[in-house]
Amino acid sequence: MANPSEDWTSPFQPRDRAMHPPALSPGYKTSVLRSPRQPLISLGPTLSELTGPVFTSEDLDPLDNDLLANAAETGDPLGERLIVHGRVTDGAGRPVPHSLVELWQCNAAGRYRHVRDGYRAPIDPNFSGFGRCLTDADGHYRFRTIKPGPYPWRNRANDWRPAHIHFSLFGPAFATRLVTQMYFDGDPLIPHCPILGSVSDKGAIERLVAPLDLDASQPFDCLAYRFDIVLRGRRQTWFENRPEGG
């Protein structure tokens, strides 16, 4: 289960906050009262962050990564059938294997299957928007789903979220815990989104936008989008100057 080449007790690189949205992003109004104002306290490495929960296939059900099937009651869900896949690596490009990836999204009409979503678009009785999988030995993950729709949200009077899928990643330790959102290349709402716009680095925004991956599509069945994810790497020390996995 554990990655044999992982250097488990090596400390992680500090998080580069310039690649992330600031806690206070006034264009995203809810952040104003939910953002800490005191500086974060930087920790040296302790065992509490170098460790983290370990998940195995026993934590998963067979259809967890197939959103086309895992909530189907009367037939297939409505919408564009998709494969969403990619590779989870660390900052050095090394795979993050056997690691839990969780995903959630709204349906093709832009409605979440959630007791607190009151948008007028209809529920799809064959779609929950819930997905989980483990990355394989090479860090790959793969889901089947439908393309989520855009939807309006309460921020400014006429704000709409671009189509997006929420991702949750654990990686090898609690220090690498991350939630993010994947967007779809070509979505005209992307430049208007205050949540995506809270990221100031253009490259960081572009890396959240998944390109179409025609080669990975299934002819006459599913289009594919590819979303690669990078988790924090470990600090490079002199003795790590060696072949990968060495």
């Binding site: 949205p21 800490p36 929960p53 819930f130 949750s168 995506l196 890396r207």
Partner: protein, 208 residues
């Protein structure tokens, strides 16, 4: 090695108001994993003092947040983590992963865990000894990057005084935001831990 192969971390994005669908589906009203109790961290067979942890997540006006997720990560009663980075790591065959999830109640904003009190974490793998503590990670709508904090136990004053992480917090008043008071009035000992995102008594959050 050149810096050119250094890839920046994928940007964080808020978990949004509907995080329950993916992270706690029964709270979203979904008929998925309804038998699971992710906020019961330790079953009856696990060694250690059984405790309840509860609190609210409060915004800058002091109002409870109703749509947050709180994750807990902890050592077992011997201060060992069920993870390969711990050279004396606990075995998962002890039926204790040390991981839990709770969501804030949609009406009251209260979250809670039932678990066992962790032990002192001994120094090892080049890392220092630490007082018993729980690690928390909080996400919600309006939180752009998940927030890390720790709970320390008020009845561990001696260990807390020597803790290398608490001592990083310069102001005594801020240090107190990490210390949960114990109440022995209920069926289980209860530690109350309110997480204040902003304003007076803002909880200490860590850049880990």
């Amino acid at each position: 090695m050149s810096a050119s192969w250094h890839l920046p971390e994928t940007a964080s994005q808020t978990a949004g108001p509907f995080l329950h669908i993916g992270l706690y589906p029964q709270a979203a009203g979904l008929d998925i994993r309804t038998q699971e109790r992710p906020n019961i961290v330790a079953g009856p067979g696990v060694t250690g003092e059984r405790i309840r942890i509860e609190g609210q997540v409060l915004d800058g006006t002091g109002s409870p947040i109703k749509d947050a997720l709180v994750e807990l990560w902890q050592a077992n009663a011997d201060g060992r983590y069920a993870h390969p980075a711990d050279p004396d790591g606990a075995s998962t065959s002890e039926n204790f992963r040390g991981f839990g999830r709770a969501v804030t109640d949609f009406a009251t904003g209260l979250w809670w865990f039932e678990t066992i009190k962790p032990g002192v974490v001994p120094a090892r793998a080049g890392t220092p000894a630490m007082a018993p503590h729980l690690t928390f990670w909080i996400v919600a709508r309006g939180i752009n990057v998940g927030l890390h904090t720790r709970l320390y136990f008020a009845d561990e004053a001696e260990a807390n005084a020597a803790d290398p992480v608490l001592s990083l917090v310069e102001q005594e008043a801020r240090r107190r935001t990490l210390i949960a008071e114990r109440s022995d009035e209920g069926e289980l000992p209860v530690y109350r831990f309110d997480i204040r995102l902003q304003g007076e008594g803002e909880t200490v959050f860590f850049d880990i």
